[in-house]
């Protein structure tokens, strides 16, 4: 279920320090989210595609990865133009399609894909241990990082438990339907998942104490702080500053 398809690679982005990548993804995503101009949003989109190129990611895989968003966007394109109030450009019986709704849809589509591409190119290209390492260097609380690393570690294990429970139910002739019996079975299944998770947590905690756990995780990944990180961040800042200035003075460039 969990694949870190992009986490291992050999590209400029993969070699960067996680810390630099986290800083870059935060400022780029927020700048893109706050952008309120369709033309500028397209420029952000182009920047995000450049990042995907820099990380040398397989375009097909990236497309597959952001597929769930297209379902959301499809729903948006169906719902928003008819429910958004504004100037009506097309009327079909009681259905009224508004210009504002369509512009809003375009903006949301481009912005959401852009932010996801930033996330894919900068964060999905590191494994969770490196992410923890980067967050630690950025002074995120140790407990939070512990939670993240620990949950990540046990998702696959708990998923196996879930599959085993489901298999056992199927062997006993369980077929999911729309009735109370099915819901009850799934409820017990979810409950059993929580019980097993809790019991496992006790065992893991005891095992950690036995091995001298002293409330600290040590990282084995060492990233050299060479000049490429610095140059990368400066590049990101310059791009951002240009885009923000463009948006502030958009009238001069786009004439609206």
């Amino acid at each position: 279920m969990i694949e870190e398809k992009f986490a291992f690679g050999n590209s400029f982005i993969h070699r960067l320090d996680p810390k630099a990548r986290i800083i870059a993804v935060i400022i780029l995503s927020f700048a893109a989210a706050l952008c309120d101009n369709l033309n500028i949003a397209i420029l952000y989109f182009i920047v995000s595609i450049v990042f995907i190129g820099l990380a040398k990611l397989n375009v097909k895989d990236v497309f597959k990865r952001i597929k769930p968003v297209f379902w959301f966007l499809l729903m948006l394109w169906i719902l928003l133009p008819i429910t958004f109030e504004g100037e009506i450009i097309y009327k079909f019986y009681w259905l009224e399609i508004s210009t504002e709704g369509i512009i809003m849809c375009c903006k949301i589509t481009i912005k959401s894909i852009t932010i996801l591409l930033f996330f894919t190119s900068l964060v999905a290209t590191m494994n969770i241990a490196s992410l923890g390492n980067g967050l630690h260097k950025l002074y995120v609380s140790d407990k939070m990082i512990f939670l993240l690393l620990m949950s990540y570690r046990y998702i696959a294990v708990i998923e196996d438990e879930y599959k085993r429970l489901l298999r056992a139910a199927k062997f006993r002739g369980f077929k999911p339907k729309t009735n109370v019996h099915s819901y009850k079975t799934f409820a017990y299944l979810a409950g059993m998942l929580f019980v097993r998770a809790s019991l496992r947590a006790q065992r893991v905690h005891q095992a950690m104490l036995c091995r001298g756990f002293n409330k600290k995780f040590y990282t084995l990944d060492v990233y050299e702080s060479d000049r490429s990180n610095f140059i990368f961040l400066i590049g990101v800042f310059i791009t951002l500053a240009t885009l923000v200035v463009l948006e502030l003075y958009q009238g001069l460039f786009f004439g609206n």
Binding site: S29, R65, L116, S182, A187, G191
Partner: protein, 200 residues
């Protein structure tokens, strides 16, 4: 239940981020190192349980189960939900980074609320336990929907009808989450009552 990227306004995003960070800090303060493994593995269980696919007629939905997590963890549910959502966005790209704060608030605030509203009723009688669980599940989704609606409405007043449409489509899910939470809580009390925290 997610708000996608690129929808919300800057004010709503930053308000969401600030509330999420404060809530997470409060939640982390309540967890000491003896419990942290427990919270972490329950967060993984929450992550996996949210992949459970159930049928409603011809359609299928995923469980959310933030109600149960809230009942089991109280304030600690906030960092647990943050962890689960962050991992979801890393693995499945459901959400990205900017809407993470708002999404955490949408999922975690109702979880904490139902903890304090319904935990005192658990274990009194089997009927009462089921109904307390039922309403915990129902209200956690209802409150989440309302928060989601507010987030959209604060972004743009034109989103009013959209928010209403979302809330209406979630009504069947509220009822199913209620039924599942009710059964699940009754099951937990029977099988492993230690997992239910003492009354707040």
């Amino acid at each position: 239940m997610h708000i996608s990227e690129g929808v919300l306004s800057g004010q709503v995003l930053s308000a969401g981020a600030v509330i999420a960070v404060t809530g997470t800090a409060m939640g982390l303060k309540k967890i000491d190192y003896d419990q942290i493994v427990h919270v972490a593995i329950l967060a993984s269980a929450f992550f996996v349980a949210s992949l459970i696919h159930i049928n409603i007629g011809p359609a299928g939905v995923h469980l959310i189960l933030n109600g149960i997590l809230g009942l089991l963890l109280g304030f600690a549910a906030i960092p647990a939900i943050l962890t689960a959502l962050l991992l979801q966005s890393i693995f499945f790209q459901y959400g990205g980074l900017t809407a993470l704060g708002v999404n955490v608030v949408i999922m975690a605030a109702p979880a904490v609320l139902v903890h304090y509203l319904f935990l005192p009723f658990l274990g009194r009688s089997s009927k009462l336990t089921f109904w307390a669980g039922f309403f915990a599940g129902l209200f956690s989704i209802l409150f989440s929907c309302l928060l989601l609606g507010f987030a959209l409405w604060f972004t743009d007043k034109h989103f009013f009808e959209t928010s209403l449409a979302i809330i209406i489509t979630y009504i069947p899910i509220m009822i199913i989450e209620g039924i599942i939470t009710g059964f699940c809580v009754s099951f937990l009390l029977k099988v492993y009552p230690e997992i239910i925290p003492k009354k707040p």
